[in-house]
Structures are given as structure tokens and as C-alpha cells.
Symmetry: C2
């Protein structure tokens, strides 16, 4: 079995659960059908296994090195990303008018998931660059697009996001990087950027940095931030690579995971001028960057799912092939050992992983489907509704997988026992890789405030109303099916508790206290949304059972068992957490720093 993708399950999620086939009926995606997408999946799986998975361990062990002012990577990284580009995969997600293959976002996420699962450190080079291209396309001037867009779209150049500084991580209001206007309309950038993933390498001959900086005289805080495109190498008149743009590599960060992703400090304007171009309007930098951030957050969610999936598939394969111990009923020690997947606790650990990973994966695809629905709509109320729902789900799709698919990775190690924590097996690397996703692109706490402080409130709570409408249509369908009625009642009650919790927080006299337990709200609402994803899968499994042959019966039974697991073992957990949020519990909020330690 493949340890980077379960193709049967991918088909189940995309087609049977989320109806991707209907997209092919639209003119926008009319060039595609299931056969052509299957061929693309085959190609991606081959490259992901042959080029990405094959160097995952080496990229982890042999980190990028700082040599003569440059980051030097193992050659397999360039070979893998070149193979990805040569197969035409760099351009899958873009519209055809800018040179893209214009596949549905659902397909794009499925494709990228294989690469993230095979080697999440290498996947970072790809997804960041895609964000840069989309942002440039959305906000950049035509002149800037003419210079840079085609190269980004076809993967010839890679891109980065340069937001954080050493003194300003989550707090972007406090960045100090300066952009001084020059006579020709360009800007001179000076300052140090921290945590820059993919900030220096020789994979492509140029690197396109998207940099947040302040123009002298701009307001303090986030209102004074502008966005600049600053290339590693300036371009000549003919668009070719020109002179070095004086972005100095000031140091490499050494992380616990995702070690193949070079991560660095960059000094802009060291030893000469770093020249950049304004992207979008002055002082609109943060808003423009958020075009990329939302996309990046979904990608982080997908990366977290992929790390979890890698651990699940590997530990499942191991459990099916590793003999150890006997059933409790087999007292004779000379009787043969059984495979460890026969032991009840191993089954529980596998099921927990399945429920977390496949639930989260469905949410990522569901969000991708919302993007596809948007793409098929003209501007208007309907489209705005889809946007709002996507806005609501984005912090969940980023955070829930990073919490629960990490938990899945923890269990994957446990299934392997002592082997699980040795570096000869991939599960410990996947666990380390996944731990970063809680922090990348906005920490869990930031996502929680975004959800409870903003997303559930905008337009008088419209997003939550839309969520209820969408869920209700699943409920209506599920009520027609045997054995799903109980889950519907349970989920309806949980959803109602989410809604009443929001009302209670809205009514808080002290808004800070109202948000004090926002992270609990994020986890609980995530559980409700994932329970909905499992209900959808339960529906699809029952439809499949009714229609299908014996070949798929084990698959569908497994899906229905996972639905049962999520509703019995997981969904009941939300109640306590939501009560604490709604009750404005101040146990932690009231504490002073001294009280923690007493000295």
C-alpha cells in the first residue's frame, strides 16, 4: 500500500462525499473529467513517491548549511522540485488566462496533499510560491505582473512571504523594516526579516520576496504597512536576471521539524541597495498580504492533514505486518503471535488516527469546494455568502488539523512502540514536522481570536447562519437514511450550543474576558464542523453500500465505524469546553504572573 495517499479514500471524499464530478459540467472545468484527473493523480503520486518521499529522511537529517553567505541544500531538493515543475504540476492551480491549468481547487489540494504527505518540508517551497503568484495577480500592477507572474506560475522562480521580524511575530503592527521611495517610483528596503521559509536557495535562479515594510511618515501600527515585491536578483530591461539585489542571508534557523525547508533571517539593504516595487496601494500591505495568508492557512491545514495521514498509513501498514503477542484468550505461549492490528488498543489508536485525519481531510476538501463554487459565481450576494462561509471555516481548517492530526502522529509513534521513536522510521519525523503547524501562518491563539472575535460576528453573525443552513441540508438528507438519525440530533444540539455560546460572549461586559477562552471555542467548533464532515461521509458510505458491490463493503463499514467513533468518543467533549467559554470563566484570566510561581 502507498504510505502517502489512499486513492480509494481520495475518490470517496472528492466524488462520493463532495460531488466533484458536478464541477466538470461547468464551462470553467469542462476540459476535465474523472479519467483525466485520475491520470494527473497517477503522475503526481509517482513523482511524490519517487522524488519527494525518497529524500524525506535525508532532507531531515542533512539540513541546509550556511556556506559562503548562502544556504546550501542537498541536491535532491532541487531535483524533486524540478521534477514537479517538469511534469507541469507548478501551474495546476492558476487560471488559464495567466498560463495555468485551471484545475478545480479540490483537485489541486488533492495533488498537493500527496507532496505534503511525502515531504512536507519540500512542499513548503511550492505552496508559498503559489501564494505569492496569486497575491501578485490579485494586487499587482500590470507592469509588475508582466515582469514576474509568468515565471512564478510556471515554477521557474519561487517566492516567499517576509512578514515577521525578531521583535514582531504575531504583532505585525511593530515591524520596523523601512521602504524609502526613490525617484523612479521604486523603493529602497532596509531591515531584517525573521523566520523566512525558503528565503535562500539555488533551486531557482531567482527568488521573489513579498515584504511588509513601512514607508517613512506612514501611520504607526498596521495602518502604515505596505507590501513590496523585492527580488533576490534585480531584472534586466529584457526581464532576464540582473545584478544581485543585496538581500543578505544573516543566519539559518534550526527547527525541530520541516528541516528541509530552509528558514532564515534576511537583511535587506546590506552592502548595497535592496530595490523593491510597491504591490497594490500604499498602506494596504496587510490587506493585500491577507490574500495570501488565507490561502496559506488552508495550505497549512492541508499540510497538517498530510503529516497526520502519513503517520496513519505508515502505522496501519506496520500494524498489519508486525507480529507480537497473542489474544488474551490464547493462553498458550507457544501458539503463534498475532499481528498487532489484532490488539484492541492498537485498533483504538488506528481508529482515532483515521477519525482525525480523514475528518480533517474532508474539511480541507470542503473548503476547496467553496473556492471552486466561488470561481463559478459572478460577483453578488450568493458569492458573498460562500466567501463568508469560507472565512468562517478558514481558522478551523488551519487549526483543527494542526491540533488533532498532531495527536494522530503521536498515536502513530505509539503503534510502532520503541521503533516509533527511532529515526529509522518516518513516524517520529512526521510528528516533529507537524508540530510546527500550530504556529505557522498565525498561531492557534491568533486563529481562535479571529474566529470568536471576528468571524462569527461580521455581518451580524451571518457566517454562522450560513453554516447552520449548510449543515441543515446535510441533516435533512441524513434523516432519510437508516441509522443516522441519532447523529443528527447529537450534532444539532452541539451546533445550538455553539450558537448560544457566541451569544453569551457577545453579551459579555468585558470583551477581553469574552475572548479569554477563545481557544477552547476554536477546538469545540472545530469538533462540531468535523462531526458534520463525518456525517457527510456517513451519508456517502450508506449510499455506496446501497449501490455497491462486495468489493467496497469493508471500506464502507470502516467509514461508518469512524462516524460512530467520532460521535461516541469525540463529539461529547465539546460540551464542557463550550460551557466554560459561555460562562466567561476567568480562572486563568484573573491570574497574575507572580501567582504562577509565587516568587
Amino acid at each position: 500500500m502507498s504510505v502517502i495517499v489512499n486513492r480509494r479514500d481520495l475518490d470517496f471524499m472528492l466524488y462520493e462525499t463532495l460531488g466533484m464530478q458536478h464541477l466538470f459540467e461547468s464551462p470553467r472545468y469542462g476540459d476535465y473529467d474523472r479519467d483525466s484527473i485520475d491520470a494527473m493523480f497517477d503522475l503526481a503520486q509517482t513523482i511524490a513517491e519517487d522524488k519527494f518521499l525518497s529524500c524525506a529522511s535525508k532532507a531531515d537529517t542533512e539540513e541546509p548549511a550556511f556556506i559562503d553567505g548562502a544556504a546550501v541544500l542537498i541536491p535532491e531538493i532541487k531535483q524533486a522540485i524540478d521534477a514537479y515543475r517538469d511534469a507541469g504540476l507548478s501551474s495546476t492551480a492558476y487560471d488559464s488566462d495567466i498560463g495555468g491549468m485551471q484545475v478545480p481547487m479540490m483537485v489541486d489540494q488533492a495533488l498537493k496533499g500527496m507532496f505534503a504527505c511525502a515531504n512536507t518540508a519540500l512542499f513548503n517551497y511550492i505552496f508559498l510560491s503559489q501564494g505569492v503568484a496569486n497575491m501578485l495577480n490579485a494586487c499587482g500592477s500590470q507592469a509588475l505582473k508582466n515582469e514576474y507572474l509568468a515565471k512564478l506560475v510556471d515554477g521557474g522562480w519561487l517566492g516567499t512571504m517576509c512578514l515577521s521580524e525578531t521583535q514582531a511575530g504575531s504583532s505585525l503592527a511593530d515591524i520596523r523594516t523601512k521602504a524609502e521611495p526613490l525617484a523612479d517610483g521604486s523603493f529602497k528596503l532596509t531591515g531584517t526579516k525573521m523566520w523566512i521559509s525558503c528565503g535562500d536557495h539555488q533551486i531557482t535562479e531567482n527568488i521573489v520576496h513579498m515584504v511588509l515594510a513601512k514607508i517613512p511618515g506612514a501611520s504607526s501600527g498596521v495602518k502604515g504597512i505596505s507590501l513590496f515585491l523585492v527580488p533576490k536578483n534585480r531584472l534586466n530591461e529584457d526581464g532576464g536576471i540582473g545584478v544581485d539585489n543585496n538581500i543578505a542571508l544573516a543566519g539559518l534557523n534550526h527547527k525541530m521539524g520541516q528541516r528541509g525547508t530552509v528558514n532564515c533571517l534576511l537583511n535587506f539593504g546590506e552592502g548595497g541597495d535592496s530595490i523593491g516595487q510597491l504591490v497594490g496601494d500604499e498602506n494596504q500591505g496587510l490587506a493585500n498580504m491577507f490574500h495570501m495568508m488565507n490561502e496559506a492557512r488552508l495550505s497549512v491545514g492541508m499540510a497538517a492533514v498530510s503529516c497526520g495521514l502519513g503517520g496513519y498509513l505508515y502505522s496501519l501498514d506496520y500494524a498489519r505486518n508486525r507480529p507480537q503477542g497473542r489474544h488474551m484468550s490464547a493462553r498458550d505461549p507457544s501458539s503463534p503471535m498475532v499481528m498487532i492490528c489484532e490488539h484492541a488498543d492498537v485498533k483504538r489508536m488506528l481508529m482515532t488516527q483515521k477519525a482525525y485525519v480523514e475528518g480533517a481531510q474532508t474539511l480541507v476538501f470542503y473548503c476547496a469546494r467553496l473556492i471552486d463554487r466561488q470561481s463559478l459565481m459572478t460577483v453578488g450576494e450568493q458569492r458573498q455568502r460562500v466567501e463568508l462561509l469560507l472565512d468562517l471555516l478558514t481558522p478551523i481548517a488551519k487549526s483543527w488539523p494542526s491540533e488533532y492530526c498532531l495527536e494522530a502522529n503521536k498515536l502513530a509513534i505509539q503503534v510502532l512502540g520503541g521503533y516509533g521513536y527511532t529515526r529509522d522510521y518516518p513516524v517520529e519525523r512526521l510528528y516533529r514536522d507537524n508540530r510546527l503547524n500550530h504556529i505557522h501562518e498565525g498561531t492557534l491563539g491568533i486563529q481562535a481570536i479571529d474566529l470568536l472575535g471576528r468571524k462569527v460576528r461580521i455581518h451580524s453573525g451571518m457566517a454562522l447562519t450560513l453554516l447552520r443552513e449548510e449543515m441543515t441540508s446535510t441533516f435533512d438528507e441524513a434523516r432519510q437514511m437508516p441509522n443516522l438519525e441519532g447523529y443528527v440530533s447529537q450534532l444539532e444540539a452541539a451546533l445550538a450550543q455553539v450558537e448560544s455560546t457566541v451569544k453569551a460572549v457577545d453579551a459579555a461586559d468585558n470583551p477581553q474576558l469574552g475572548l479569554a477562552n477563545a481557544t477552547l471555542f476554536l477546538h469545540a467548533t472545530g469538533h462540531v464542523v468535523i462531526a458534520w464532515m463525518w456525517l457527510m461521509q456517513g451519508l456517502a458510505a450508506q449510499r455506496g453500500q446501497a449501490a455497491g458491490g462486495a468489493i467496497d463493503s469493508a471500506f464502507y463499514l470502516g467509514k461508518l465505524a469512524a462516524v460512530a467513533f467520532f460521535y461516541r468518543y469525540e463529539l461529547p467533549k465539546v460540551k464542557t469546553d463550550l460551557l466554560l467559554v459561555a460562562g466567561l470563566d476567568s480562572t486563568c484570566y484573573d491570574l497574575t504572573a507572580e501567582q504562577f510561581i509565587g516568587v
Copy 2:
């Protein structure tokens, strides 16, 4: 502040909560008083900080290397362990009749906790050796003790446990290492042992291996296992180091954490005879080894607590000194930033760590107190009661910290944000170190079966009755205090649910199904026990508040807030889990391997 120990809290737990001062009234511990123990703590803290903490990062980065058939460690490891020995700390835990300092076990755990917190990889060398000495003292012949015990007690030689083999980890029934009797009463050992912590090094001039093996003709399964002492180097007639005993280092394991602990494969009888001596009776190997295993399990619990404590203290210190962001009410971006410990979600993460770590630490000390109580008793019914209670609590004291203090480590990383996952800060190492504790000395699943399948059932459930008696005496006291009554009711209900769950499992027709959710029972019962530890601490804090001056008021308020946190945020979680256990939920148990993946 120290990042390896909170001395104020140590005093609170040992003296104010658990009344260690009363031990000094006994003849056994009459040589000690609080001043002399304080001096010992001072000494230990200094050595732990100067010699153990100082090389924790280096021991992690520069792993033991396999050079010319031997494991070569960084020199700081020997220096640290030599300093520990030179200070006389090797012998603290042993009775004076075998050359020990005979401190209370509570003191010993507190001392060792500082070393485990400073450098858990180095702590392993110490605690394993102590287990070997105790086992030899309990089971070995006088001749064998004469040869080996003094060296083990004074730390001149270190010891190991050799149980697992590549094909037999949790399943010891299947070991293959052979011990053939020789004419002189000794045995010739052949076979390969896997996962041997501290199995080869040059820290001490000899290494004493305790090896499980089978004598030809013995029964199959665990009933045919015997225990042997097999030294790295044989002894001369005069007790000095003799010739090499042919235990070949066959390879090193590379783990995700605790990397300074050399972990290896050993081939016994390679290139010559490996001669060993029987310890205890033939075929009693497993029972004898369990003298060591129970002690080792408590030590693993303490190590897990210590890793969690290290992360908590470090992240607390960081949060009190790292400025970032502003209060939500401070809208002016030019206003100064606040320390991150002012942010509500950071407080929540610190409080969660505090509640897990200090709760678990109290349990470890409580178990140590049970051992001290045993030491003060003659054999008889009272002593048996204490033993039974300790038996019941051991799987919890091993497992709960490894689950929840790991969770604390995850939060410590999160408090530091991006810095948290870089290797420049210790929190990511502590997280990796702690991940091993779920598996060491019996996996979580094994502990769960031990608890629900055996410990709660022996002597008709006597252990659980004893637990209720002990808890009831805390309840009676707490009812006399203001503000604790609500916690008592809540905890009584949870305890009753644990008891009724055991009854339901006892009544199960299928014992395998009864144990299918044993891990949930282990976690839930752990939560009940930790809630009890927090109630004890709440009592002590209220007594301290009533008696104390202003200097400690922040400390006591913090403790009482942590009690509130545990009862509001944590204890409610047990209900759902226990319902699943009592309901013999078969969702996972029923699943076949095929159903997980469908192909």
C-alpha cells in the same frame, strides 16, 4: 529563576501538602531534619544546573557514536555523572546497612527530579543503575551481593536492564536469549538484546547487566524466564576488573529524544563466552525483574514530570520577559508592548502546564510517601494495604505524567511561538525527550491493561477500597474548609463513576471487550487521582493562607487558582470516557484490519 526546580513549590508539596516533616520523627529517618535536607537540595541543584543542564543541548546534538566497537559519548556526560557520584548523591536512596544514606524516598525523588529536569538523558544512567542495585539486594545471593552491590550503591559501576529483543518488546514471553548452565554454577548467555539504555559507555569501568533469558528445557512463555547478572567485564578473584565478557555492541539506536542516553543492541556470547550468574530462583526472572520494573515505572513518571516542569518553568520565565503585542483595550499602536504573560491565551497555556505538572509531581511524591510509609512498617496487614495502594497507583504515576506533561511540553513550545520550535531554545528538546516516556518501561496500553485488568481486581478490589478510604480522609478535611466543598462533591461523583465502571467491566461476558477501552479508563482514573492531589494542595494552600504572611499570598492564590482550573477545565472530561468504558463500547474492537483502509 531556576528553570529546573521551583524550590518554594517543592517545599509546599513535600512539607505543607504531604507532611514530610513527620518522617523525621521516626528512628529510620531521625538523622535528617529540614535543614539537612535543604542543604542536600542546595547541593543537588548546584550540580544539576552546573553539570547536567549545561550539557543538555550538547548531549542532544552530539549523540553517542559507534567507534571501534564501542559507544563513545561526549566527555561532559562522564564529568556530570562523576560530579554526581563525588557529591555522594549516588547512594542517597539505599539503606544504611548496604552503604546508603537512607534518605526518605520523597527526598530521593525530589533530588532526582532536579537531575531529570536538567538533563533527562543523563538521569537515565542513574535511575536504571539504582533499580539494578535494589533488585540485586532483594533477590541476589549473598555471594553475588558481596561482589557487586557496594560498587552499584556508590555509583562506581552502573547497571542496565536487558529485557527486550527485536522480535519481543512488550511480549516478553517470546524472548529467545539462552542461558546454558555450566559446571561451576554459572551460565553461558547467548542472544541479542534490543533497546538497551546505557548498554555501553566508558563512564564507569564496568557495567552490570540484568538479563532475562531462558534455560534450555524451561517452559515456554513467561514461566520459563530466569534473571541473570552479566557484567561487561568479568571479575577477578579479588573482585577487581577481569577479562572482557564478550558482550558485543551490535548497533546504536537513534531516538527522537533523550539522545544523550546511549541506547543499543547487545550481542551476548559473540566472539567468546558471556558468563552470567543466576539472580534469585530459576524461572522466577519476571517476578524478580518486577522489583525493578515498578521502581522504574515510578522513575519514568518522575522523568515525565521533570520534562514537563522544565518546559513550564522555561516558558513561564520567557513569558514574563518577552514583550509582544498589547492588551485588546490598548488600541494605540504606539503604546508600549506588554509582556506576553499578560495575554489571556498565554495565561491559559501557563495555567494548563501548571495544573498538569504540579498535579503529577504531587502524585509522584505521594507514591514516594507510600514507599516511606512501607519502610516504617513491619510486615503485616497495614503494610500490605500500603503496598496494594502503591500497586494501584503505579501504572497511573507512570502514565498520566507521560500523557499530560507531554501536553504541557507542547504548550511550552506554543508560548514561545516560532522560537519554541527552534533548537536554540530547550522547549522543543524537552518535548522530544518526553515523547519516549509513553513507551519506556511498559507502554501506555500495557499500563492500562495492568490497571483495569489486574490492579483494580486483586484481592476482590481491595486496592480501590483503599483508595476510597484515603480520598475520604481528604474529603472529610476539605469539608471543614471554606470554598472546597464543591470540589469534594465533584470528586466524589467522579470516584463513584470509576467504581461503577469497574463493576460494569467485571460483569462483561467477554473479558477482551471489557478491556478494549482500558486506556480511556487509565486516563480517566488518572484525572480522578490528580484531582485528589489538587484537593490536597488546595487544603494546604488554605492552611498556608490562614497562617502565613503576605510574602506567600501570591503563591497560595496561584495554587488555589490551579485547583479551580483542574476542577473546571479538566475533571469534567472523565465522564464521557468512563461511560464508554462501562458501556463496553465496541466501535474500535469490532473493526477488522481491512476496514481501516478498505483495500
